[in-house]
Amino acid sequence: MVDIFLGLPSYVAKRALVAIALIIFVGTLNFAILHLAPGGPETVFLNPRITPAAKALILKQYGLDKPIQEQYFLYLAGMVTGKWGLSYFYTEPAFDVVVARIPATLLLMVPSLILTVLIGILMGILSVRRPYTFLDRFLSSFAFFFYSMPVFWLGFILLTVFAVFLHVLPAGGMTSIVATNFDFLDYLQHLILPMTTLTLINLANFSLLVRSSMIEVLDQNYIMTARGKGLSERLVFYRHALRNGLLPTVTMIGLFIGSILTGAILTETVFSWPGLGSLTYDSISRRDYPVVLALFFIFSILTIFSNLTTDIVYGLLDPRITYD
């Protein structure tokens, strides 16, 4: 026990170092892409309609007149201090533009993530309780079915059916245009369709994982021991097997934040949800490169941190993990 508590801080520190290294790597990647792009950062970063005097001033401000190795360190330092360039479209710092959109994305992602995990685990359990039966096969096919659907297409179908033909749910946005202050019921109404889309698409990740890891756990010796003691199958399943079977799912939540983010980008675009995803779509069509790069940086930071968190949570949940 003592070892665990002594080891924990250094384990956390080690994981955090890896996360920081990854963030530096992403910054480097951004820098490299910027310089490898045809025309380099000058054409990518500057508004083409700018006057030569203003151009020289901005080049100086961003240090683009300095030698490349110096530029690299300046760029990384700028990443930390939030100097991510100016958006051409908003003529505001790209950092501010991006950060302002984070809450909306979280308001879509978090409820959907919770729903995905709960339904996914439930489906996995139902499958494993009666493996290789009709129900099991049906649930697996159901998950796979939505898994191979293009996110934006599923969104379109729901939108057309419920908003265009049936008129029961709002067609897009996060709140009604007439609403002046944040109304929870209004938000919920707008949430239903995008949340359903995002949840259906990601279900397979969780349900199939719970299923396979539970099958593996049920095959282990300690389960046989529990059965040998004469415990009921229900008790063996829920008391003994479920806790260990669900552990891999916890790690998966972190790993799938990336794919959920990807889904969110596309879902937001279809439902004009005012978050990071629709900003990505708009910025690409406006060729607003500073914002595109800033978005990639934010997405990476979000994934890296959720991975870090799950690593640590996993370490806390499973005493067998050694912290070195």
Partner: protein, 312 residues
Amino acid sequence: MDYWTLGLHMTDTSSTSKSRLAKASTFWRSYSKNKGALFSLFFLIALILAAVLANYLFPGDVEAPNIAREMLPPSFSAILGTDYLGRDQLALIVFGARTSLIVAFAAGGLLAVVGTMAGLMAGYYGGKMDGLIMRCADVFLTIPVLPLILVIVALTTPNLVNVMFAIGLTGWPVMARVVRSDSLALMKREFIEIERVMGANSRRILFKHLLPNQLNSILVYASLSIPAVILTEAALEFLGLTPLSVSWGFMLNVAISYWIRGTWWMSFFPGFAIFITALAFYFVSEGLKEALNPKLKRRRESLAAQIAERKK
């Protein structure tokens, strides 16, 4: 004993053409038992044929606008309706299959080659090489891939070749992991050890033993990665990154501006094409997995029997 004959005895690659034929027929018997996989294979063959023969199926310029017929719902003259420029959607979808299939096979192939090479090197050399390659793989698994591809494609010239490279070069880590763990297992086998003792060079071990012995699983994972490639490529086009007028993703990109008028066919059919193609590749890879690895099926059946036994 002669070194080379010994080497030949130790792998399956020495099989004569007759036994190869026998193997193929066993494979086919097992594969065709899975009706979903069989049907999907026929569907994909038909799709490839249609894409190749698109010029003959739909003679004339399918991209030419015909304003008089814009946004017509499905009817006998245009089975899948017409789009915002009055073009026949069926023709556009068949031509769009070219884009999807080319990217699917090219990016999927690139991903498989890079992943296989990385996995073989990591598994064979081990140590520092293994560490380096696997840390690279971890990085690509941690960074969100679609945004990365978006950045790469948006800032370089947005064309199909760049899309293929971006998808292929970001998708290799899972493949590398699979090949690496198989290689590590193979490296412990006796026949590799004998080869090493007899002084076989690394190229011989890598390409005569490690690679041929896991071609099956490489094939399965390559086919399994194709649906993801198709969906990613469609997503890039949907986001308007590669404005090719004849691609399924871009048809959906256009449809987004018109859905409010209730033109459901403009979004339904291109999306359905993406969906059904991705699903068909999944079924084929499932079928391949079972047919190429009979142990898997036997294990599954015995496990099912065991569990049924317990229930009583």
